[in-house]
Symmetry: C2
Subunit: 115 residues, 2 copies
Amino acid sequence: MIIRKEEQKITINEHMRGGDGSVQLRQLLAPEQFCGHGRLFSRLELAPGCSIGVHPHNGESETFYVLQGTARFNDNGEERPLYPGDVAHTPSGQFHSISNAGQEPLVLVALIVNS
Amino acid sequence: MIIRKEEQKITINEHMRGGDGSVQLRQLLAPEQFCGHGRLFSRLELAPGCSIGVHPHNGESETFYVLQGTARFNDNGEERPLYPGDVAHTPSGQFHSISNAGQEPLVLVALIVNS
């Protein structure tokens, strides 16, 4: 099946996980399309100054793939920059946060799979 | 953990699934990072004229997210074009193929999750 760009579900999440501003989430797969093995495959866009607050993942991993922009990524307590093409992987039992550290939109693909 | 763009494993797959030319696969996650719930999260790049041949997926789904270029996608027997931002999802038990139908590189994110 094809899910055209114009048909994809878009959600605006304000202060996501306690972060600043808002995050636009474009759903690429619905949770039920993971058949119980995961729950999120989405394109995320954060305007300059926006962030997703610190949160853990338990029983699942989350992976970010940076398509555009510059991020500041809290990798289980260590702050590091991310650039286009970089991947940040948070296994079960660890925590992270991410913010737009640049002047252009930060665009990511996010994936949550069970662990 | 961070997997920098420069550190990602790149594979060139010739005549992938019987297709034309070659496909460059940039590994975003290693199979073991799926903890048994999937096996592939990669950026794929196909030059003009290149393709991945027809093949089924059983016991798993594959999803393509088009980042750049124009594709011709065989969706379980039906040929359809794909454009940037479109998603093509092939559940378990179905088959697909994909080719670069344009004059610029076709760039995709591919995800294989168990079903």
